[in-house]
Symmetry: C2
């Protein structure tokens, strides 16, 4: 169903611009309210509209699928749907696709139902789509790990000895994952000024972003169970863009020996629409060659990277429009999603529906494809010169950071929309 536009299955009766991120080939899931304080509803983005699945479910339109009677689209979060697993995800996608096709009359010609079920995205308030039990952040881009390593440990020791053998990761803070648009208040914390022997306390001076792509897990596992690398795809629902905001000065002082803590737990922003694994299937591709060959439990049977263009934009307070500051691609990731999930669970760590696993900063081979200001400005030594005449080493209060990304098909895009966040001054 991801064929070019002559195929009637490839077009919806809902108008979709050719550069829209949400054509019928995409059908990403999100959570929204029709009015402030109203109840949360599960929807799918189509063009500039959102399709209210709770309305379709109440109208019985999922009764002839494996979802019949389960009422997962009447829930106030996506976790129950994620818990059902891949067979149900496929059935739902097939049904929603059918209902939106230009050559299928069922919804297209039912004006009353259409009126109820379809509403402009502009009119709704998006909210966090799932209740995130646990959030894990990987460190899976070789270029990023190398850049950081060179800056902090020199060329010789850039990659730690373990890096090429396993997808390094740390547990993040689920409570600080917020939706795109949530303002990010500059965090306070301890920093060690250059040359000083004792730390000072105050607002971070080195506010940074990290461009990541995360995936949501379902149905999950119990304690002591593992997910084999070739079973991983059936446990991965879909992807969002992630901005893992980072306070570099706090991080540098605190991170030894147990890893980043306050430097990362003041806000991690995600995009509102979950783009499914199935929607991205046409864009699956090979990742970088892995040498040394991973241990058997990490040997993925297929190509499990994706060709997704990733763009970072910045809008300072003086700018009228945002300016693009980096272009990268998800395919640069060294460790793929199957390896990440297999590694994470090989210890017996339990996974729950709605757990979020993020890639870590994705940087590419060129200077303008780096996924953080730390790398783009090489620790501030090469400030970005913006069209506005301004310079940036790291972000300043009032700066808005916008991450966007899409896979380009023939005549259509499967996109993520965007994740944006504006930095507010530290609180008194």
């Amino acid at each position: 169903m991801n064929n070019p536009t002559n195929d009637p299955a490839a077009r919806s009766f809902v108008a979709v611009a050719s550069d829209s991120h949400f054509p019928i080939q995409n059908l990403p899931y999100g959570l929204f309210r029709r009015e402030p304080g109203g109840r949360a509803r599960i929807g799918v983005a189509i063009g500039e509209m959102v399709l209210d699945l709770s309305v379709l479910e109440a109208a019985g339109l999922f009764d002839e699928t494996v979802l019949a009677g389960r009422k997962v689209f009447s829930a106030e979060r996506l976790n129950d749907f994620l818990a059902l697993g891949a067979e149900s995800w496929t059935a739902a996608r097939r049904r929603i696709h059918e209902l939106l096709r230009n050559d299928v009359a069922l919804l297209r010609d039912d004006a009353a139902l259409r009126e109820q079920a379809l509403l402009p995205q502009q009119q709704v308030e998006m909210i966090l789509p799932v209740e995130i039990g646990d959030y894990t952040d990987f460190y899976s881009s070789r270029e990023h790990a190398t850049n950081v390593g060179v800056m902090f440990r020199g060329e010789e020791n850039a990659l730690m000895p373990n890096w090429l053998h396993l997808p390094v990761a740390y547990h993040g803070r689920a409570s600080s994952v917020v939706l795109s648009g949530t303002p990010i208040v500059r965090p306070k914390g301890q920093q060690l000024p250059p040359g000083a022997e004792t730390p000072v306390f105050g607002p971070s001076r080195l506010m940074d972003h990290e461009f990541e792509v995360g995936f949501f897990v379902g149905p999950g596992t119990d304690l002591a169970q593992s997910i084999a690398v070739d079973e991983a795809p059936s446990q991965i629902f879909g992807f969002v863009l992630v901005n893992d905001w980072s306070a570099r000065d706090i991080q540098k002082w605190e991170y030894q020996p147990l890893g980043p803590f306050l430097a990362k737990n003041f806000g991690t922003s995600i995009s509102p629409w979950i783009v499914t694994l199935e929607a991205l299937e046409p864009f699956r591709c090979a990742g970088p060659e892995q040498d040394p060959k991973p241990l058997p439990y990490l040997q993925a049977p297929n190509e499990w990277s994706y060709d997704i263009r990733l763009e970072t934009w910045l809008k300072t307070e003086t700018m009228e429009a945002a300016e693009r500051i980096a272009v990268s691609n998800y395919r640069y990731m060294y460790w793929n999603i199957c390896q990440q999930l297999a590694h994470h669970t090989v210890s017996g760590c339990p996974m729950a529906p709605g757990d979020l696993l993020a890639s870590g900063t994705i940087s590419g081979p060129t200077k303008d494809s780096r996924g953080s200001m730390l790398e783009l400005t090489w620790r501030g030594s090469e400030p970005l010169r913006l069209g506005s005449g301004e310079e940036r080493k790291f972000f300043e209060d009032g700066d808005e950071v916008i991450l966007t990304g899409w896979a380009q098909g023939e005549g259509y895009r499967v996109g993520f929309g965007e994740v944006r966040g504006r930095i507010l001054p530290a609180l008194d």
Copy 2:
């Protein structure tokens, strides 16, 4: 109400042995089922009985407190009660204490209600008392951090430069927190054998425990808010014992640069009864002197350590009874709970009711007061010689580890019961 036994308020009509962990001075909260698969109920331990608060609530016995109409004790987890905050916690404790007093007739003389509300702990199944949103693990014992530092980096660099300035911590895995009694399957993972250049994969050979004490947070904070060090006590509900199971070989190979991951996420066991801050108030005491003086945001106004005896026991498969292998005390902790919570939130990290913050391994100044096998056997170089004639460097399959702890009052104990877990062989 924590006075010696001549005070009628200090005795319950429920029989309590003098070495019981659960006298009327304690009143810890837990979650239980009356029968397998039955609904979860909130209870309080008293002697060898459990008091079913959902029964008391249904009987209207909380109607004359601030809890009236809130029905928090009819919930199937403690989170709603934790969300209410300190005023409600105090009111509930006062009321439960009153109902259990030997000189108060209300419950004592109502045989029908007593029959309904009080049942033997032996007959119930305890379950995880709260839904843990996020789990954080500190590293707050100076003796532990020093021991580990000496072993891995030598005497000169034992403590990292940041250690005396902030309570180091990392985000743990909430999904792997399990209740006492849950078997712990030996995890698999990558290890670098001594002298090898490439890692191998297999079951951990260096299974260890970490004796910790954790606390549950409520009512919590929103993104960007902080909890000041002197407000922290009003946000801390109570404590449990924590066994932070650790796979030392996996940890050593994986932990650079982002901290422990698989080495810690295959199971973290907690004791079933939450001992409240109020119950432990008579045992509050000074912790170690802090030099250098902490930054102002970490200066706690009072003494916030606790005199709690902590004992580690081991039962191998050949033993008829468990053998004590360590005795320590919670008061050795360098960073206290107020400092931990203030530090954790100073970045604006949100806290939710039911978040768990653990102390990190608690070790004392003497060899037999160390909180992990890593330290007790000094990386296996000084094996423990057990009464059974066996030796242990780390734990073997079939070993059961039991942690217990209590504060000793005059004629009574405020105790935690125990957290136990038996190690099962790795799965094929």
